[in-house]
C-alpha cells in the first residue's frame, strides 16, 4: 500500500510538470497583460513601459517560464504582481476557506445524494422516485449563480433566515462565533452541493436497483433478514462503490463550482482569488493557484483510489 502511494506520487511529478507548461502557455498566450489595467489620466506611456519592464514582461517567454519553474523547484512560487505578497502565503490565506466550503458541500452531498437515491430506488416508479428525479434534473440544470441569488433573495432578504453572504457577522452578531460561522456556511455549501447531490442521487438509484436484483439479495431476503438489514447491510455497501469512484472526480468540480459560489456569497476563497488574478493577468498568482489546484486534483484521485480499496476488499494494490 505504501509502495503504491509512493509510486503514484512519483508518477504525479511529470504530470504536474506537463500541467505547468500547459497552464503557463494558456495564461501567457491569452491576450492582455497586467499593465493594461493601470488607468489614470495623469499617467504617461513611459510609466506603463517602465512597469512592464519592472515586472519582467519584456523578457522572452521561455526565459520567464524557466525562471518560474526553477524558483518553483526551490519552493518559491513568486510574488503577486498586484499585492506584491508571496503567492504561496496568499493561497494559504484563502485555501482553508475554500476547503471548509468544499468539505461542507461534500458532506451535504454525501448525506443527501445517496439517501435520495436509495429512497428513489426503494420506491421505484412511485411518487418519491418521480420527485427525486425532477429535483435532480432541475438542480443540475440551474446554474450555481442563479440558484445562489435565488436563495439569497428568498431566504436571506425575504425571510431573513440566513445571512446574505460573508463568512461571519461583522456587526452585532447574536450567536456564538462557531454557530455564526456554520450559519453563514449553510447557503453557499448547499449551492455548491447541488450538482453533486443530483449526480449522487441518480447514480445511487441506478446502482441500488442493479444490486437489489442480484441473487445474493434474493438469498438474504429468502433467509428472512429484515428489509433494513438487506438494504443497509448488504446492498448499500456494494452500491456505494461507484459513488466512491466519482468522489475523486467531484473535488475539482467543487473547486470549479466554488469560483461562482464564492463570488455570489462573498466568500473569500481560492475561487475568487483565481478569478480576480485571471482578470488582472496576475501571472504568478494564476500559475500558483492552477498548480496547487492540479496537485489537489491528483491527490483527490489518489484518495479515491485508496478509498476504493477500503470499500471493496477485492481490490489490492501492488
Amino acid at each position: 500500500m505504501t509502495k503504491f502511494v509512493l509510486r503514484r506520487l512519483l508518477q504525479a511529478i511529470p504530470t504536474l510538470l506537463g500541467i505547468s507548461i500547459l497552464i503557463f502557455a494558456v495564461i501567457r498566450l491569452a491576450p492582455g497583460d497586467p499593465v493594461n489595467l493601470f488607468f489614470d489620466p495623469t499617467i504617461k506611456g513611459e510609466d506603463l513601459e517602465r512597469m512592464r519592464r519592472q515586472l519582467g514582461l519584456d523578457r522572452p517567454l521561455y526565459i520567464q517560464y524557466i525562471d518560474w519553474v526553477t524558483n518553483l523547484a526551490r519552493g518559491d512560487f513568486g510574488r503577486s504582481f498586484v499585492t506584491r505578497e508571496p503567492v504561496l502565503s496568499r493561497i494559504l490565506e484563502r485555501l482553508p476557506n475554500t476547503i471548509q466550503l468544499s468539505l461542507a458541500a461534500v458532506v451535504i452531498a454525501l448525506l443527501v445524494g445517496p439517501t435520495l437515491g436509495i429512497l428513489a430506488a426503494t420506491h421505484r416508479g412511485g411518487l418519491i422516485d418521480q420527485l427525486v428525479r425532477v429535483l435532480a434534473v432541475v438542480v443540475d440544470a440551474v446554474p450555481n449563480f442563479w440558484l445562489g441569488l435565488m436563495l439569497i433573495l428568498v431566504l436571506a432578504v425575504q425571510f431573513r433566515l440566513f445571512p446574505s453572504g460573508g463568512m461571519y457577522t461583522l456587526r452585532g452578531a447574536f450567536m456564538p462565533p462557531l454557530l455564526d460561522r456554520l450559519w453563514h456556511l449553510v447557503l453557499p455549501a448547499l449551492v455548491l452541493a447541488a450538482g453533486p447531490i443530483a449526480l449522487y442521487s441518480r447514480l445511487m438509484r441506478t446502482e441500488m436497483l442493479e444490486v437489489l436484483s442480484q441473487d445474493y439479495i434474493r438469498t438474504a431476503r429468502a433467509k428472512g433478514l429484515a428489509e433494513g438489514v438487506v438494504l443497509y447491510g448488504h446492498a448499500l455497501r456494494n452500491a456505494l462503490l461507484p459513488i466512491v469512484t466519482v468522489l475523486g472526480g467531484t473535488l475539482p468540480f467543487l473547486f470549479g463550482g466554488a469560483v461562482v459560489t464564492e463570488s455570489v456569497f462573498s466568500w473569500p476563497g481560492m475561487g475568487r482569488l483565481f478569478v480576480d488574478a485571471a482578470y488582472s493577468r496576475d501571472y504568478p498568482m494564476v500559475l500558483g493557484i492552477s498548480l496547487i489546484a492540479s496537485v489537489l486534483v491528483v491527490l483527490g484521485q489518489l484518495l479515491s483510489d485508496i478509498l476504493y480499496g477500503i470499500v471493496d476488499p477485492r481490490i489490492r494494490y501492488s
Binding site: N36, P41, E46, D47, L48, S80, S266, Y279
Partner: protein, 554 residues
C-alpha cells in the same frame, strides 16, 4: 490592478482621481454638514459594501479605487482637492506660495501633527514620500507625476541619490522647484498621501514591506485589521489633528461584496450601510424606507470610438454620419433611466473647463445618409452603402459583461443599419479588450474615459501618447490639439480663465473632428442608510471625503 472588478474599475474611470486620491470636505475649522444638521453623536460603525478588495495599502504604490478608498482615510496629503470646486486647498500644509516665474513652490506645514504611532510629522516625511516615488527601485506608475521637478529625471534614472528640486528648508517648510511651469502640478502631485519616513527609510524593499499591509498614517482613521478578500476595518484616530477626539464613528469597515445584485440585497437587509447603485436597481432601492439615494456628477464618460487610422474612418464625414445616426438621448432616457448627462467632447459638464457652447450631434439619419453620399458612398443591392467594391461594414468591440455598454452597442448597430452601415458586434473580456485597443486592432469600440480633477487631456489626446505605449488608443493626431495641450499647462500664473479658454478651443476642435461619438456621463448613484448624518457626495470628493464628519443618529 488585480482585485479590481470591472465594475469598480469602471466606476473608477469615472471618479478616478476625484474619488480616489482626495480627502476631506470642509476644512476642520468650517462647520460640516453633520455639525449643521444637529449635535453629532459619537459611536457606531459604517460598513461600505463594494465589489473589490484593496490591493496594497500604500498611497505611492496602489492604482485601484479600493485601495485608495482606504488609504485616503489613513493618510493625509499635503494639499487636498476641494471637494466642491476641484481646486487645491490646504491640508497638511496650512498655506503655500508660488514664485512669480511659476517654478518654485513653498509649502508651510502644520505643526503638532502626529503619526498613528505617536512620532511627529515633519517636512522630511514629505520629501521622503516623493523621493520614494522617484526611486528607480520603487514599482509605481506615479513617477511621471513628478518628473517636472528639477533633478527628478536623473533620480528616476538612478543617476542621482536624491532629487535636487525637493528641499527641506526646516522641519515645517518644504520647497519644490520645477524645471518649467506645470499648472496641474499641485492637483497631480501634492494630493498624494504622505508616508512616514521613520517607518520606511530602512525598508529593504518598499514594494514588499509589511507596512503595505499594516499602514500607519496621520489621517482621521487608523488601520485595525485586513482579512483578505473579506473586509478591512479602520478605527477612529482620537488624536487626529483635524478635530479633537477625531471622527464621530468608531469604525469604518470596507466589506467585499463581489456581486452587484448582492450589494443591493445587503443594502436591503442592512448588512451594509453604503453601496453604489446600478441604474437597473434604482427603483427598487428608492422604495426602501431606510435608505437615501445620493446622486452626483461624474468626470467619467462613455463613448463609441472610431479608429481614425483605418479608412474610411479617417474621413470626418463618415465619422459624423455614424455619430448622427445614433439616438443618444433615447439611450439615456431608456437604458440609463435618465441618470446620465449628454456630453459633447472629452470634458464633461462636471469639470470647470467644460465648454457649454458646443452642441452634440443631434440624431438625424437623413443628414447621416447625405454625409455618406457626399463621401462617395451609394446604397448597394443589399441596402448596405458602398464606395466602389467596398461596403460599409465594421466590427464593433464591446467589453463583455458591462450590461449598459452591451445595450448601447445593440441599439447603435440597429440604428446604423438604418443608414446602410452594417456592424458586427463582438464581445470580449475586459483585459483582452484593452489589449485589442492598445494594439489598434479594431474599427469601432464602446468604452469609457475619465477626466482627471485637472482637465489636462494629454494622456488621451496628445500624439506623444499614442498606443501601444500610451493611452491614445484611437491614434488621434492633430498638431493644433498637441499645441493647445502643451500651452494650457504652462499658462503664465496658471490663470484658470486663460486655461479654460484654451480647453474650450480644444473641445471645439475635438467635437468638430468627431474622433469619438461622445455619448454620456453617468451620474454616480450611491445608497446610504438614512440614519447616517453627514454624507455629501461630490464630483471631486466622491462619497467618503468627509467620513470623519459622519455620525449615526440615535
Amino acid at each position: 490592478m488585480a482585485g479590481v472588478s470591472r465594475r469598480e474599475f469602471l466606476s473608477g474611470l469615472a471618479g478616478f482621481t476625484a474619488a480616489g486620491i482626495l480627502l476631506g470636505c470642509s476644512g476642520p475649522s468650517a462647520p460640516s454638514p453633520a455639525e449643521q444638521a444637529g449635535r453629532p453623536v459619537y459611536g457606531g460603525t459604517v460598513i461600505f459594501g463594494s465589489p473589490a478588495d484593496a490591493e496594497i495599502l500604500n498611497p505611492i504604490l496602489h492604482n485601484d479605487t479600493a485601495s485608495s478608498n482606504i488609504t485616503d482615510r489613513i493618510f493625509d496629503p499635503v494639499l487636498r482637492v476641494d471637494p466642491l470646486t476641484g481646486q487645491p486647498a490646504p491640508w497638511l500644509a496650512e498655506r503655500w506660495t508660488v514664485s512669480d516665474d511659476g517654478l518654485t513652490y513653498t509649502f508651510y506645514l502644520r505643526r503638532g501633527v502626529r503619526w498613528h504611532d505617536g512620532e511627529a510629522f515633519t517636512a522630511h516625511d514629505v520629501k521622503f514620500t516623493f523621493e520614494a516615488i522617484l526611486d528607480p527601485r520603487t514599482r509605481t506608475v506615479r513617477k511621471s507625476n513628478y518628473d517636472m521637478i528639477v533633478g527628478a529625471r536623473a533620480r528616476i534614472e538612478g543617476k542621482a541619490p536624491e532629487t535636487e528640486g525637493i528641499r527641506v528648508l526646516d522641519d515645517y517648510t518644504l520647497e519644490i522647484t520645477l524645471e518649467e511651469p506645470f499648472c496641474p502640478f499641485l492637483i497631480q502631485g501634492m494630493v498624494r498621501g504622505i508616508i512616514p519616513k521613520h517607518l520606511l527609510e530602512k525598508s529593504e524593499d518598499i514594494n514588499r514591506d509589511e507596512f503595505n499591509r499594516r499602514p500607519v498614517g496621520t489621517g482621521p482613521f487608523k488601520f485595525k485589521e485586513w482579512v483578505k478578500g473579506d473586509h478591512i476595518t479602520l478605527v477612529r484616530n482620537e488624536d487626529w489633528w483635524g478635530r479633537p477626539g477625531g471622527p464621530y464613528i468608531d469604525q469604518y469597515i470596507r466589506k467585499v461584496v463581489p456581486d452587484s445584485t448582492v450589494v443591493t440585497a445587503q443594502l436591503k437587509t442592512g448588512d451594509i450601510d453604503v453601496g453604489s447603485v446600478e441604474p437597473s436597481d434604482l427603483d427598487e432601492l428608492e422604495r426602501e424606507e431606510g435608505l437615501t439615494i445620493y446622486r452626483y456628477d461624474d468626470l467619467g464618460y462613455t463613448y463609441i470610438g472610431y479608429n481614425v487610422s483605418r479608412p474610411p474612418l479617417d474621413d470626418k464625414r463618415v465619422r459624423w454620419a455614424l455619430s448622427l445616426a445614433v439616438d443618444v438621448d433615447t439611450i439615456i432616457r431608456t437604458v440609463l433611466r435618465g441618470e446620465a448627462v449628454r456630453i459633447t467632447d472629452h470634458i464633461p459638464p462636471a469639470s470647470w473647463a467644460y465648454n457649454p457652447n458646443i452642441k452634440p450631434p443631434e440624431y438625424n439619419p437623413q443628414r447621416a445618409r447625405q454625409l455618406l453620399e457626399q463621401a462617395g458612398f451609394r446604397p448597394g443591392p443589399d441596402g448596405i452603402m458602398r464606395r466602389g467594391d467596398r461596403a460599409l461594414r465594421f466590427t464593433l468591440w464591446v467589453p463583455a459583461g458591462q450590461k449598459v455598454r452591451e445595450q448601447v452597442a445593440i441599439i447603435a448597430k440597429d440604428q446604423w443599419k438604418q443608414i446602410g452601415v452594417d456592424v458586427d458586434i463582438q464581445f470580449q473580456e475586459w483585459n483582452a479588450f484593452l489589449e485589442r485597443l492598445r494594439q489598434g486592432d479594431f474599427d469601432l469600440v464602446v468604452s469609457g474615459y475619465s477626466l482627471g480633477v485637472d482637465p489636462n487631456p494629454r494622456a488621451f489626446w496628445h500624439s506623444a501618447e499614442l498606443a501601444p505605449r500610451g493611452f491614445n488608443r484611437i491614434r488621434y493626431r492633430n498638431p493644433e490639439v498637441d499645441r493647445i495641450i502643451e500651452e494650457a499647462v504652462k499658462v503664465p500664473g496658471c490663470d484658470p480663465e486663460k486655461r479654460k479658454r484654451l480647453y474650450w478651443r480644444f473641445q471645439e476642435i475635438l467635437a468638430d473632428d468627431q474622433p469619438f461619438n461622445f455619448l454620456y456621463s453617468l451620474k454616480a448613484l450611491v445608497a446610504i442608510k438614512r440614519s447616517i448624518v453627514g454624507p455629501n457626495p461630490t464630483t471631486f470628493g466622491g462619497v467618503f471625503h468627509n467620513l470623519h464628519d459622519w455620525y449615526i443618529a440615535k
